[in-house]
C-alpha cells in the first residue's frame, strides 16, 4: 500500500495501513520531586510547603495533578484540612480541598502519606498559558492552626533505619 495523504479525512495512511487518526490528548507532562527533610508548619489560612512550576502550553486545556507526599509523625487527625492550589500567571488562585487526602496510622511516629488526584477543567480556570504553579499544603477552619504530620520527607533522624524519603508529583495537561 502506498502512502496516502487523505485530505478529506485530514489524515495520513501509512504503507503498513496505520493512520494518524488518533491524536494524543495528553499534550504536556511536568514531573517534580522534593527530597528535602523539613518540619511541617502550622497553618490557618491555606499555606504550602512545596510549589511546583509548570508550563501550560494551551489556553484551553485541562490540568491534572497527581502526587504522593511522604509525611511522618501524627499530629492533627483525621483533620481533613489538606489542600492543593493552582496559581495562574496573573496570580489568580484555584484552591481545592478535594482530591487531596492522607492516612495516618495508629503509631504516633508512623508514616503519613498524602495522595493527590485532582483535575481542574479549562472551564474552571482562566485562559492563560505559560507559567503556572501548583502548591501543596493545608489550612484550618476558624482561628486555629494545624498540620497533618510533623515531618515532610523524613529520614534517619526519625528512624535510624530510614533512607531519605522523597515526594513527587506529575502535572498533566490534556485537551480533547
Amino acid at each position: 500500500m502506498a502512502l496516502l495523504l487523505d485530505g478529506t479525512n485530514n489524515r495520513i495512511q501509512f504503507a503498513d495501513g496505520s493512520t494518524t487518526d488518533e491524536t494524543d490528548v495528553l499534550v504536556n507532562i511536568t514531573y517534580a520531586q522534593n527530597t528535602t527533610r523539613q518540619s511541617a508548619g502550622d497553618y490557618n489560612q491555606f499555606n504550602y510547603w512545596w510549589e511546583v512550576n509548570f508550563t501550560r502550553t494551551r489556553t484551553d486545556s485541562d490540568i491534572r495533578v497527581s502526587g504522593l507526599i511522604h509525611g511522618q509523625g501524627n499530629y492533627c487527625y483525621p483533620y481533613y484540612g489538606t489542600a492543593i492550589r493552582l496559581v495562574a500567571p496573573n496570580g489568580a488562585t484555584y484552591l481545592s480541598d478535594g482530591g487531596s487526602h492522607y492516612l495516618h496510622t495508629k503509631w504516633s511516629n508512623g508514616n503519613v502519606p498524602i495522595w493527590t488526584e485532582k483535575v481542574w477543567l479549562a472551564s474552571q480556570i482562566n485562559s492563560q498559558d505559560s507559567g503556572w504553579k501548583i502548591q501543596f499544603g493545608w489550612r484550618h477552619t476558624g482561628s486555629g492552626t494545624c498540620r497533618p504530620f510533623n515531618i515532610i520527607n523524613y529520614n534517619n533522624n526519625e528512624d535510624g533505619r530510614a533512607r531519605q524519603r522523597g515526594s513527587s508529583c506529575i502535572i498533566r495537561e490534556y485537551k480533547q
Binding site: Y79, Y80, H104, C146
Partner: protein, 176 residues
C-alpha cells in the same frame, strides 16, 4: 518543512504525530463533594463517577480514583469494586485495582479508597460512544457491609477540616 519517516509525521515546528500505540485519545473526569452516609448493603453502587466517550472499539479504559472516607465499618472486607458500563447497559466489574485502607487507630478516623485499574480491550466489548464509571461494594457471602460510615467527610467529622471530595479520572488508552 514537514517530513514523514516510518509512521511518524514531523511538522516544521518540530511537533510530530505518530500512528499506533502509546497514546491517550480520550478522557473523562468526575468529582463529587457531598458528605454522604453509606448504607450497609450488598451489590450497591455508591457513585456514578464519570463518563468517557470511547472513540475506538479496540482500546483500553484506565480508571484512577481517590475517595476519602471517615469512620471504619467493615475491614478488610474485600468487596469494593470499580465498574464500567457502555451505553447499552453492558457492565464490566473489577474487584482488582480497587482498595481502601482504614486508619488503624480506631473508629472516627480517616479512610482512603484508591482505584487504579485498566479494563483491557480483551475484556470489553467493541462498543464505542459513552461509557460510564461506577464504584460500589458487594460481598462474597451476600452479607451487608460498607467500606466507611461516611464518604466525603467534612467539618462535621473534624471541626478543623473542610469538605473533602472524591475524584475520578478515566482515560481511553492505546498502550504502546
Amino acid at each position: 518543512m514537514a517530513t514523514i519517516s516510518g509512521t511518524t509525521l514531523t511538522y516544521g515546528s518540530g511537533t510530530s504525530q505518530t500512528a499506533g500505540g502509546g497514546k491517550v485519545i480520550s478522557y473523562g473526569y468526575g468529582e463529587y463533594n457531598t458528605r454522604t452516609s453509606l448504607p450497609n448493603a450488598n451489590n450497591y453502587i455508591f457513585w456514578d463517577a464519570a463518563t468517557i466517550n470511547r472513540t475506538r472499539s479496540d482500546t483500553d479504559l484506565h480508571v484512577v480514583a481517590l475517595m476519602p472516607g471517615h469512620n471504619w465499618n467493615s475491614f478488610p472486607y474485600g468487596g469494593c469494586f470499580v465498574e464500567v458500563k457502555d451505553a447499552s447497559g453492558n457492565k464490566y466489574r473489577s474487584y482488582y485495582g480497587a482498595q481502601y485502607l482504614c486508619c488503624g487507630e480506631g473508629g472516627n478516623q480517616e479512610i482512603v479508597f484508591k482505584v487504579d485499574w485498566t479494563f483491557r480491550d480483551s475484556v470489553l466489548n467493541n462498543n464505542t460512544g459513552n461509557w460510564t464509571v461506577h464504584f460500589g461494594y458487594q460481598s462474597y457471602d451476600g452479607g451487608d457491609n460498607k467500606w466507611a460510615v461516611i464518604w466525603n467527610p467534612n467539618a462535621s467529622d473534624d471541626g478543623r477540616g473542610y469538605q473533602k471530595s472524591s475524584t475520578c479520572f478515566v482515560e481511553e488508552i492505546i498502550y504502546g
